[in-house]
């Protein structure tokens, strides 16, 4: 019995070390780039790792353009550029790269064109000296269906969707108002939050108010067990619906501080100018002895300290 357990441990250890080596090998040391390819159905982009050999910008541009034209190693992807499409010339002007294509470009339309364009731009933007890419066809600027120029494309031009995909995320600074340690005043805190673009800003504000602040000597004014049932903004009014656990706020934090931490934080958003708080869908619920008013506007007198 003992021997077989030993054997198992040994093989497990071997397996784990293999996995770790594999991961570190694939993980890519600093300096591996990616070439963007297209899946066979023409619906999405696929990535293949690539190591740049050239050290100068010109060399790197040529190298990447060549790699883009080639078929990838993996079987389930194809090059985004059709065989008859050629880059006639390119010009780099202080970080702005202009690529001139032959007329074969005009034959590519619809989603395929968008996929190709995004693949080429994303691939080339990996070169450190390049900040934007513009396409021309035989010297003429590329235009949309409605005639407007597509113009220079940079890292913000394209977005992805779903989960943690980098292009689906948004980075934004929010101003939040937490309760001071003694519960009698508000502490302002600026926070940079990186979040999925599907989440509405007002929801994000409430979620962060319900967690601990980064500032020392500040606390979250909302009881832990409170659930955010829903939150909606219409014509500048934010309708906030919380469950009954909100009524259990500790006495240590004053009623006004609790209310205005929420109101002030939400009204920092452009779209919101006043807030209405409902408990389980009911308006005017009793909170700490007083009825909740129909609408609250921010009160900045209670702010005693600022934390950046």
């Amino acid at each position: 019995m003992r021997r077989s357990i030993r054997k198992k441990c040994v093989s497990l250890a071997l397996m784990m070390s293999m996995v770790i080596t594999l991961l570190t090998a694939c993980g890519g040391d600093a300096g591996t780039q990616q070439i963007y390819y297209m899946d066979v159905a023409g619906n999405s982009l696929k990535i293949s790792a690539y190591k740049l050999k050239a050290k100068d910008t010109e060399g790197q541009i040529s190298e990447l353009l060549t790699a883009l034209k080639q078929a990838p190693d993996t079987g389930s992807a194809v090059s985004v550029m059709p065989r008859d499409l050629e880059v006639i010339s390119h010009r780099l002007d202080g970080g702005h790269l202009v690529l001139d294509f032959n007329t074969a470009y005009e034959r590519i339309t619809g989603p395929n064109e968008v996929l190709m364009r995004s693949a080429i731009v994303k691939t080339l933007l990996q070169i450190s000296n390049i900040s934007s890419v513009t396409f021309t066809v035989q010297g003429k600027a590329l235009t949309n269906a409605d005639g407007s120029e597509i113009g220079a494309m940079n890292a913000d031009t394209f977005m992805d969707f779903g989960g943690d995909a980098e292009d689906a995320m948004v980075r934004r600074t929010f101003t939040l108002y937490y309760a001071s340690k003694d519960g009698q005043s508000l502490v302002r805190e600026k926070r940079e939050i990186y979040y999925n673009s599907n989440i509405s800003p007002e929801k994000l504000v409430m979620e962060y108010l319900m967690t601990s602040p980064h500032t020392d000597d500040a606390i979250s004014p909302i009881p832990d067990s409170t659930k955010l049932l829903n939150i909606n903004v219409n014509r500048g009014v934010c309708y906030l619906n919380l469950d009954e656990n909100f009524l259990n706020a500790t006495d240590k934090i004053s009623q006004q501080v609790v209310i205005y931490s929420i109101v002030n934080s939400l009204c920092e958003l452009n779209e919101i100018s006043s807030v209405q708080i409902a408990i389980n869908g009911e308006m005017n619920s009793i909170f700490r002895g007083d009825k909740l008013s129909n609408s609250y506007t921010p009160n900045f007198n209670m702010v005693t300290s600022n934390a950046e």
Binding site: N43, S44, L45, G110, F161, S197, S200, P201
Partner: protein, 479 residues
Amino acid sequence: MILLAGLIPYTVAFYLYLYAYRQNTINIEEVQIHSQMQVLTGGILDKDYLSDPSDTEINSQLDTVRQIYGGRILLIDDNLRVIKDTNGIDSGRTLVWANAIRSLKGEALSYYDKQNNFLTVTLPIRSTADDNAPVRGVLMVVRSMDYMNQSLDQMTVPGIIGFVILGFILLGLAAWTAEHTIRPLKTMEEALDKTKNGSASSGLKDLDYAEAEELAGHFNDFLGRMQSVEASRQEFVSNVSHELKTPLTSMKVLADSINSMEGAPLELYQEFMQDMSHEIDRETKIINDLLSLVRMNKTGISMNIASVNMNELIESILHRVRPIADRQGVELVLESFRPVFCEIDETKFSLAITNLVENAVKYNNPGGWVHVSLNADHQYCFVTVEDNGMGIPQDSLDRIFERFYRVDKSHSREIGGTGLGLAITQNAIRMHHGEIRVASELGQGTTFDVRIPLTYIVDPEEDVIARRADEIREERSGE
């Protein structure tokens, strides 16, 4: 173990159920959004919203829907540009996403983002009037599925309660089962230990489990048999010593009396020596009988089986006994109904029948008779020894096969014999897997019925016992 056996399937079933609920809710939601959004796409096409997203009516519709869904709505044109984003962030960007591209090609799709709990439905915007109408854009509806999580959370609570209750029930069940199966086993263990160590044990009683009761019954039987074996062993030893001592005592008496006599005549010495000789013969006979009995008891004794002509066998027995019968004035007759061949050990079986016939002659009166009959059917061979002698009293009938048992001790001494004859006979019959029965009436006569199978079947159990006995003997000799 019972705990695990119950809780694991429960947990698995519970999680499966939650999973099914989640999948089902998502599917229903997809279908709902699909159908509800058809309404919007009509308006979008009519007002050519994709070219100019300023129409207030459409915008307020989009906003209302967004609020209800707690999510976000995006409108994409056929170049994958984001025309409208209710979140405001992404307008003007180009969406490069597989589902959007596929929807642009005509598919209605949905994507569930488990991490952020959003369900994203993408619908192609095209005119429903014409089947071949081109897809003008994509309507993307992002719906928050938080409500599903709330439901799931609420469902988890009863699930956990059920888990705990089940756990307790199983614990109770396990404990009860353990009690009822292990307790009787433990009691048996103790009783067995006691028996092994030789201390008397009263057996098992009062077990409340049916199977345990059966087991206890068998155990008690076994215990009883062991105890009776032990008792009979002790009895045998005391019987043997008694019987062996008796002739020796007689011899001692004779020797002492003649030694104490002064001037005894030679004839007296001769007479005493003859008596001594008789006693020694008697002692020898007892010892011989004992040895053969013990040898037969020794399990594992080999049976020398052969097919024997029963008629000839019995005739030869009668031939041997005839002189004694003639001396007693007893008539000896053999009745045979057919030729019978039987698989027997000739020596042992002869011994058995000889004893019966000799007894029938000895315990008889002058002018009496002894009838021996031989018969067989397709399975058994039947031998009957019948006499019209003095018979056996009813209350002794059960005991006549016991070793050294005599009905009337004083009378039997005259007749002679060791008291072992019937024990030897019964043993021999048993070894042939046969049966012996007796019927008798005092003063009228006795009938012994013997039945043995025509073919001898080896009993594997006897083999096992024999082998074990051999092992024990080897161990003992090694000590």
